[in-house]
Symmetry: C2
Subunit: 201 residues, 2 copies
Protein backbone atom coordinates (compact mmCIF):
# COMPACT_ATOMS: atom_id res chain seq x y z
CA UNK A 1 0.00 0.00 0.00
CA UNK A 2 1.55 3.33 -1.01
CA UNK A 3 0.55 5.23 2.12
CA UNK A 4 -0.31 4.06 5.60
CA UNK A 5 -4.06 3.82 6.11
CA UNK A 6 -3.71 2.44 9.62
CA UNK A 7 -1.24 2.53 12.50
CA UNK A 8 1.87 0.34 12.59
CA UNK A 9 0.23 -2.13 14.99
CA UNK A 10 -2.36 -2.99 12.34
CA UNK A 11 0.25 -3.14 9.57
CA UNK A 12 2.24 -5.55 11.74
CA UNK A 13 -0.82 -7.76 12.25
CA UNK A 14 -1.35 -7.87 8.46
CA UNK A 15 2.31 -8.75 7.94
CA UNK A 16 2.22 -11.59 10.51
CA UNK A 17 -1.04 -13.04 9.17
CA UNK A 18 0.47 -12.93 5.69
CA UNK A 19 3.11 -15.40 6.86
CA UNK A 20 0.50 -18.12 7.44
CA UNK A 21 0.35 -20.73 4.68
CA UNK A 22 -2.61 -20.05 2.43
CA UNK A 23 -2.76 -16.32 3.18
CA UNK A 24 -1.02 -13.86 0.86
CA UNK A 25 -0.65 -10.13 1.48
CA UNK A 26 -4.08 -9.45 0.04
CA UNK A 27 -5.97 -12.10 2.00
CA UNK A 28 -4.02 -11.09 5.12
CA UNK A 29 -5.57 -7.63 4.75
CA UNK A 30 -9.01 -9.16 4.35
CA UNK A 31 -8.42 -11.36 7.40
CA UNK A 32 -7.26 -8.35 9.43
CA UNK A 33 -10.35 -6.35 8.47
CA UNK A 34 -12.50 -9.33 9.39
CA UNK A 35 -10.75 -9.61 12.77
CA UNK A 36 -11.21 -5.88 13.39
CA UNK A 37 -14.88 -6.17 12.54
CA UNK A 38 -15.35 -9.22 14.76
CA UNK A 39 -13.03 -8.03 17.48
CA UNK A 40 -15.11 -9.27 20.38
CA UNK A 41 -16.19 -12.59 18.90
CA UNK A 42 -13.08 -13.55 16.93
CA UNK A 43 -10.03 -11.35 17.52
CA UNK A 44 -10.17 -11.58 21.31
CA UNK A 45 -10.75 -15.38 21.42
CA UNK A 46 -8.06 -15.95 18.78
CA UNK A 47 -5.53 -13.91 20.74
CA UNK A 48 -6.36 -15.89 23.88
CA UNK A 49 -6.26 -19.22 22.04
CA UNK A 50 -2.80 -18.42 20.68
CA UNK A 51 -1.50 -17.47 24.13
CA UNK A 52 -3.14 -20.56 25.59
CA UNK A 53 -1.59 -22.98 23.10
CA UNK A 54 1.74 -21.16 23.23
CA UNK A 55 1.91 -21.50 26.99
CA UNK A 56 1.00 -25.19 27.03
CA UNK A 57 2.60 -26.61 23.90
CA UNK A 58 5.01 -29.46 24.59
CA UNK A 59 6.68 -32.22 22.67
CA UNK A 60 5.42 -35.64 23.70
CA UNK A 61 8.28 -37.50 25.37
CA UNK A 62 6.89 -40.81 24.16
CA UNK A 63 6.28 -40.22 20.45
CA UNK A 64 7.52 -36.74 19.50
CA UNK A 65 4.03 -35.44 18.66
CA UNK A 66 3.32 -31.84 19.62
CA UNK A 67 0.39 -31.23 21.91
CA UNK A 68 -0.76 -29.34 24.99
CA UNK A 69 -0.06 -32.36 27.17
CA UNK A 70 2.74 -34.87 27.61
CA UNK A 71 2.20 -37.78 26.95
CA UNK A 72 0.09 -36.49 24.07
CA UNK A 73 -3.58 -37.07 23.25
CA UNK A 74 -2.68 -39.86 20.82
CA UNK A 75 -0.36 -41.72 23.22
CA UNK A 76 -2.93 -41.58 26.04
CA UNK A 77 -5.82 -42.73 23.82
CA UNK A 78 -6.58 -46.26 25.07
CA UNK A 79 -8.89 -46.97 22.14
CA UNK A 80 -5.89 -47.21 19.84
CA UNK A 81 -4.17 -50.46 18.90
CA UNK A 82 -1.02 -50.35 21.08
CA UNK A 83 0.84 -52.99 19.07
CA UNK A 84 1.15 -50.89 15.92
CA UNK A 85 3.36 -47.81 15.63
CA UNK A 86 3.11 -45.62 12.53
CA UNK A 87 6.37 -43.73 11.98
CA UNK A 88 5.93 -40.32 10.32
CA UNK A 89 8.35 -37.51 9.51
CA UNK A 90 6.23 -34.60 10.72
CA UNK A 91 3.24 -33.88 12.95
CA UNK A 92 1.44 -32.77 9.76
CA UNK A 93 1.73 -36.35 8.44
CA UNK A 94 0.17 -37.71 11.64
CA UNK A 95 -2.72 -35.27 11.26
CA UNK A 96 -3.14 -36.23 7.59
CA UNK A 97 -3.34 -39.96 8.39
CA UNK A 98 -5.82 -39.28 11.18
CA UNK A 99 -7.91 -37.09 8.89
CA UNK A 100 -8.05 -39.99 6.43
CA UNK A 101 -9.07 -42.23 9.32
CA UNK A 102 -6.48 -44.58 7.79
CA UNK A 103 -5.51 -46.63 10.84
CA UNK A 104 -6.26 -46.90 14.54
CA UNK A 105 -2.72 -47.05 15.89
CA UNK A 106 -0.09 -45.19 17.84
CA UNK A 107 2.44 -42.90 16.15
CA UNK A 108 6.06 -41.90 16.32
CA UNK A 109 7.12 -38.53 14.91
CA UNK A 110 10.73 -38.37 13.73
CA UNK A 111 10.76 -34.60 13.33
CA UNK A 112 12.08 -34.79 9.76
CA UNK A 113 13.92 -37.15 7.45
CA UNK A 114 17.64 -37.81 6.99
CA UNK A 115 19.04 -35.20 4.63
CA UNK A 116 22.81 -35.01 4.15
CA UNK A 117 22.41 -31.88 2.03
CA UNK A 118 20.50 -30.06 4.77
CA UNK A 119 22.80 -31.46 7.46
CA UNK A 120 20.11 -33.63 9.07
CA UNK A 121 21.71 -36.77 10.49
CA UNK A 122 20.38 -39.61 12.66
CA UNK A 123 21.10 -37.65 15.86
CA UNK A 124 18.72 -34.91 14.70
CA UNK A 125 15.78 -37.30 14.47
CA UNK A 126 13.66 -38.76 17.25
CA UNK A 127 15.11 -42.28 16.72
CA UNK A 128 16.47 -43.34 20.12
CA UNK A 129 13.00 -43.19 21.67
CA UNK A 130 11.60 -45.27 18.81
CA UNK A 131 14.12 -48.07 19.45
CA UNK A 132 13.36 -47.85 23.18
CA UNK A 133 9.60 -48.07 22.56
CA UNK A 134 9.92 -51.06 20.27
CA UNK A 135 12.52 -52.70 22.54
CA UNK A 136 10.20 -52.40 25.53
CA UNK A 137 7.98 -55.03 23.91
CA UNK A 138 4.31 -55.21 23.01
CA UNK A 139 4.88 -53.79 19.53
CA UNK A 140 4.04 -56.16 16.70
CA UNK A 141 4.42 -53.90 13.70
CA UNK A 142 6.11 -50.63 12.78
CA UNK A 143 4.63 -48.98 9.68
CA UNK A 144 6.96 -46.52 8.00
CA UNK A 145 4.74 -43.77 6.54
CA UNK A 146 7.58 -41.66 5.26
CA UNK A 147 6.76 -40.46 1.77
CA UNK A 148 8.49 -41.37 -1.44
CA UNK A 149 11.30 -38.84 -1.79
CA UNK A 150 14.91 -40.03 -1.89
CA UNK A 151 15.56 -38.65 1.60
CA UNK A 152 12.43 -40.31 2.96
CA UNK A 153 13.37 -43.65 1.40
CA UNK A 154 16.88 -43.38 2.84
CA UNK A 155 15.35 -42.71 6.23
CA UNK A 156 13.04 -45.72 5.86
CA UNK A 157 16.04 -47.96 5.16
CA UNK A 158 17.92 -46.50 8.10
CA UNK A 159 15.01 -47.06 10.50
CA UNK A 160 14.53 -50.60 9.18
CA UNK A 161 18.21 -51.40 9.90
CA UNK A 162 17.94 -49.79 13.32
CA UNK A 163 14.93 -51.94 14.26
CA UNK A 164 16.24 -55.17 12.75
CA UNK A 165 17.65 -56.59 15.98
CA UNK A 166 14.38 -56.00 17.84
CA UNK A 167 12.80 -58.53 15.46
CA UNK A 168 9.71 -56.34 14.99
CA UNK A 169 7.83 -56.53 11.68
CA UNK A 170 8.57 -53.37 9.67
CA UNK A 171 6.32 -52.38 6.76
CA UNK A 172 6.01 -49.36 4.49
CA UNK A 173 3.08 -47.72 2.72
CA UNK A 174 2.13 -49.13 -0.68
CA UNK A 175 3.11 -47.22 -3.78
CA UNK A 176 0.52 -46.90 -6.52
CA UNK A 177 -2.01 -44.81 -8.35
CA UNK A 178 -3.64 -42.21 -6.06
CA UNK A 179 -7.36 -42.85 -5.66
CA UNK A 180 -9.09 -40.52 -8.10
CA UNK A 181 -5.82 -39.91 -9.94
CA UNK A 182 -5.45 -40.10 -13.70
CA UNK A 183 -2.75 -42.28 -15.21
CA UNK A 184 -1.43 -39.74 -17.68
CA UNK A 185 -0.65 -37.28 -14.90
CA UNK A 186 1.49 -39.75 -12.98
CA UNK A 187 5.26 -40.04 -13.16
CA UNK A 188 7.01 -43.15 -14.50
CA UNK A 189 8.20 -44.27 -11.06
CA UNK A 190 4.68 -44.39 -9.66
CA UNK A 191 3.34 -46.20 -12.73
CA UNK A 192 6.12 -48.83 -12.59
CA UNK A 193 5.50 -49.33 -8.87
CA UNK A 194 1.76 -49.69 -9.47
CA UNK A 195 2.37 -52.30 -12.17
CA UNK A 196 4.78 -54.27 -9.95
CA UNK A 197 2.35 -54.22 -7.01
CA UNK A 198 -0.72 -55.05 -9.14
CA UNK A 199 -3.42 -57.06 -7.43
CA UNK A 200 -5.70 -59.84 -8.71
CA UNK A 201 -9.35 -58.87 -9.14
CA UNK B 1 -11.26 -35.52 12.10
CA UNK B 2 -12.76 -38.67 13.55
CA UNK B 3 -10.66 -38.76 16.73
CA UNK B 4 -8.83 -36.02 18.59
CA UNK B 5 -5.15 -35.93 17.70
CA UNK B 6 -4.45 -32.95 19.89
CA UNK B 7 -5.83 -31.31 23.01
CA UNK B 8 -8.96 -29.09 22.95
CA UNK B 9 -6.84 -25.92 23.06
CA UNK B 10 -5.31 -26.79 19.69
CA UNK B 11 -8.66 -27.84 18.23
CA UNK B 12 -10.07 -24.49 19.34
CA UNK B 13 -7.22 -22.63 17.64
CA UNK B 14 -7.92 -24.54 14.41
CA UNK B 15 -11.61 -23.72 14.68
CA UNK B 16 -10.97 -19.99 15.25
CA UNK B 17 -8.45 -19.74 12.40
CA UNK B 18 -10.98 -21.48 10.16
CA UNK B 19 -13.33 -18.54 10.65
CA UNK B 20 -10.92 -16.17 8.90
CA UNK B 21 -11.89 -15.38 5.30
CA UNK B 22 -9.75 -17.40 2.91
CA UNK B 23 -9.03 -20.19 5.40
CA UNK B 24 -11.19 -23.32 5.37
CA UNK B 25 -11.01 -26.16 7.90
CA UNK B 26 -8.14 -27.78 6.02
CA UNK B 27 -5.99 -24.70 5.60
CA UNK B 28 -6.75 -23.77 9.23
CA UNK B 29 -5.09 -27.05 10.24
CA UNK B 30 -2.12 -26.27 8.05
CA UNK B 31 -1.90 -22.78 9.51
CA UNK B 32 -2.10 -24.17 13.05
CA UNK B 33 0.70 -26.65 12.35
CA UNK B 34 2.76 -23.85 10.87
CA UNK B 35 2.16 -21.71 13.96
CA UNK B 36 3.13 -24.60 16.24
CA UNK B 37 6.29 -25.13 14.24
CA UNK B 38 7.17 -21.42 14.29
CA UNK B 39 5.95 -20.85 17.81
CA UNK B 40 8.73 -18.46 18.83
CA UNK B 41 8.97 -16.51 15.58
CA UNK B 42 5.32 -16.40 14.50
CA UNK B 43 2.83 -17.71 17.07
CA UNK B 44 4.14 -15.58 19.93
CA UNK B 45 4.38 -12.33 17.88
CA UNK B 46 0.96 -12.96 16.33
CA UNK B 47 -0.62 -13.46 19.74
CA UNK B 48 0.97 -10.23 20.97
CA UNK B 49 -0.02 -8.33 17.81
CA UNK B 50 -3.64 -9.41 18.24
CA UNK B 51 -3.70 -8.33 21.88
CA UNK B 52 -1.96 -5.08 20.94
CA UNK B 53 -4.43 -4.17 18.20
CA UNK B 54 -7.36 -5.35 20.30
CA UNK B 55 -6.36 -3.12 23.18
CA UNK B 56 -5.84 -0.02 21.04
CA UNK B 57 -8.47 -0.27 18.32
CA UNK B 58 -10.82 2.71 18.17
CA UNK B 59 -13.27 4.22 15.75
CA UNK B 60 -12.09 7.56 14.40
CA UNK B 61 -14.46 10.25 15.70
CA UNK B 62 -13.84 12.33 12.59
CA UNK B 63 -14.39 9.86 9.75
CA UNK B 64 -15.53 6.51 11.17
CA UNK B 65 -12.37 4.66 10.06
CA UNK B 66 -11.04 2.03 12.45
CA UNK B 67 -7.47 2.44 13.64
CA UNK B 68 -5.24 2.32 16.71
CA UNK B 69 -5.49 6.09 17.10
CA UNK B 70 -8.25 8.70 17.06
CA UNK B 71 -8.23 10.77 14.87
CA UNK B 72 -7.02 8.02 12.56
CA UNK B 73 -3.88 7.76 10.42
CA UNK B 74 -5.79 8.97 7.36
CA UNK B 75 -7.39 11.99 9.06
CA UNK B 76 -4.06 13.11 10.56
CA UNK B 77 -2.15 12.72 7.26
CA UNK B 78 -1.40 16.29 6.20
CA UNK B 79 -0.22 15.21 2.77
CA UNK B 80 -3.79 14.46 1.76
CA UNK B 81 -6.03 16.89 -0.09
CA UNK B 82 -8.30 18.20 2.72
CA UNK B 83 -10.95 19.57 0.35
CA UNK B 84 -12.05 16.18 -0.99
CA UNK B 85 -13.92 13.58 1.10
CA UNK B 86 -14.45 10.09 -0.34
CA UNK B 87 -17.53 8.47 1.25
CA UNK B 88 -17.29 4.68 1.54
CA UNK B 89 -19.54 2.07 3.12
CA UNK B 90 -16.87 0.04 4.90
CA UNK B 91 -13.27 0.33 6.07
CA UNK B 92 -12.48 -2.42 3.52
CA UNK B 93 -13.52 -0.04 0.73
CA UNK B 94 -11.17 2.64 2.08
CA UNK B 95 -8.32 0.10 2.10
CA UNK B 96 -9.19 -0.99 -1.44
CA UNK B 97 -9.12 2.57 -2.80
CA UNK B 98 -5.83 3.24 -1.03
CA UNK B 99 -4.35 0.00 -2.40
CA UNK B 100 -5.30 1.18 -5.88
CA UNK B 101 -3.65 4.52 -5.05
CA UNK B 102 -6.80 5.93 -6.64
CA UNK B 103 -6.95 9.34 -4.97
CA UNK B 104 -5.09 11.42 -2.40
CA UNK B 105 -8.02 12.56 -0.28
CA UNK B 106 -9.71 12.21 3.07
CA UNK B 107 -12.40 9.60 3.71
CA UNK B 108 -15.67 9.14 5.52
CA UNK B 109 -16.78 5.63 6.49
CA UNK B 110 -20.55 5.20 6.79
CA UNK B 111 -20.34 1.77 8.41
CA UNK B 112 -22.73 0.19 5.91
CA UNK B 113 -25.45 1.18 3.46
CA UNK B 114 -29.15 1.82 3.94
CA UNK B 115 -30.96 -1.49 3.86
CA UNK B 116 -34.65 -1.58 4.81
CA UNK B 117 -34.64 -5.38 4.60
CA UNK B 118 -31.79 -5.68 7.11
CA UNK B 119 -33.24 -2.91 9.26
CA UNK B 120 -30.42 -0.46 8.54
CA UNK B 121 -31.78 3.09 8.56
CA UNK B 122 -30.11 6.53 8.41
CA UNK B 123 -29.58 6.56 12.18
CA UNK B 124 -27.44 3.43 11.91
CA UNK B 125 -24.98 5.10 9.55
CA UNK B 126 -22.24 7.61 10.31
CA UNK B 127 -24.10 10.43 8.55
CA UNK B 128 -24.41 13.21 11.14
CA UNK B 129 -20.63 13.60 11.34
CA UNK B 130 -20.42 13.77 7.53
CA UNK B 131 -22.87 16.69 7.43
CA UNK B 132 -20.95 18.37 10.27
CA UNK B 133 -17.61 17.91 8.44
CA UNK B 134 -18.95 19.32 5.21
CA UNK B 135 -20.85 22.08 6.99
CA UNK B 136 -17.67 23.17 8.79
CA UNK B 137 -16.36 24.40 5.43
CA UNK B 138 -13.19 23.78 3.44
CA UNK B 139 -14.70 20.82 1.60
CA UNK B 140 -15.03 21.31 -2.16
CA UNK B 141 -16.14 17.86 -3.25
CA UNK B 142 -17.71 14.76 -1.76
CA UNK B 143 -17.12 11.62 -3.85
CA UNK B 144 -19.61 8.82 -3.18
CA UNK B 145 -17.70 5.56 -3.62
CA UNK B 146 -20.58 3.33 -2.66
CA UNK B 147 -20.78 0.44 -5.07
CA UNK B 148 -23.54 -0.30 -7.54
CA UNK B 149 -26.05 -2.39 -5.61
CA UNK B 150 -29.61 -1.11 -5.14
CA UNK B 151 -28.98 -0.43 -1.44
CA UNK B 152 -25.74 1.41 -2.22
CA UNK B 153 -27.46 3.53 -4.88
CA UNK B 154 -30.29 4.35 -2.46
CA UNK B 155 -27.69 5.39 0.07
CA UNK B 156 -25.95 7.56 -2.50
CA UNK B 157 -29.21 9.37 -3.26
CA UNK B 158 -29.91 9.81 0.45
CA UNK B 159 -26.45 11.28 1.10
CA UNK B 160 -26.78 13.58 -1.93
CA UNK B 161 -30.07 14.94 -0.58
CA UNK B 162 -28.58 15.31 2.88
CA UNK B 163 -25.66 17.37 1.57
CA UNK B 164 -27.69 19.45 -0.87
CA UNK B 165 -28.15 22.47 1.41
CA UNK B 166 -24.41 22.65 2.15
CA UNK B 167 -23.92 23.44 -1.55
CA UNK B 168 -20.95 21.07 -1.80
CA UNK B 169 -20.25 19.34 -5.12
CA UNK B 170 -21.28 15.67 -4.84
CA UNK B 171 -19.97 13.13 -7.38
CA UNK B 172 -20.09 9.39 -7.71
CA UNK B 173 -17.74 6.80 -9.24
CA UNK B 174 -18.06 6.15 -12.97
CA UNK B 175 -19.80 2.97 -14.13
CA UNK B 176 -18.20 1.05 -16.95
CA UNK B 177 -16.17 -1.86 -18.15
CA UNK B 178 -13.64 -3.02 -15.50
CA UNK B 179 -10.05 -2.59 -16.71
CA UNK B 180 -8.95 -5.98 -18.01
CA UNK B 181 -12.57 -7.17 -18.09
CA UNK B 182 -14.14 -8.96 -21.02
CA UNK B 183 -17.36 -7.68 -22.50
CA UNK B 184 -19.15 -11.01 -22.69
CA UNK B 185 -18.74 -11.58 -18.96
CA UNK B 186 -20.40 -8.29 -18.05
CA UNK B 187 -24.04 -7.84 -17.11
CA UNK B 188 -26.43 -5.76 -19.21
CA UNK B 189 -26.58 -2.89 -16.70
CA UNK B 190 -22.84 -2.36 -16.80
CA UNK B 191 -22.75 -2.54 -20.58
CA UNK B 192 -25.58 -0.02 -20.93
CA UNK B 193 -23.87 2.31 -18.45
CA UNK B 194 -20.58 1.97 -20.33
CA UNK B 195 -22.29 2.85 -23.64
CA UNK B 196 -24.06 5.87 -22.12
CA UNK B 197 -20.83 7.17 -20.55
CA UNK B 198 -18.70 6.50 -23.66
CA UNK B 199 -15.79 8.89 -24.24
CA UNK B 200 -14.34 10.35 -27.41
CA UNK B 201 -10.94 8.98 -28.45
Amino acid sequence: MPRAVAGPEIERLIQLLGRLPGLGPRSARRATLHLIKKRETLMAPLGLALQDVLGKIVECQVCGNVDVRDPCTVCTDHHREPGVIVVVAEVADLWALERANAINAKYHVLGGVLSPLDGVGPDDLNLTKLVTRVGAGGVEEVILALGATVDAQTTAHYVTDLLRETGVKVTRLAHGVPVGGELDHLDEGTLSAAIRARTVL
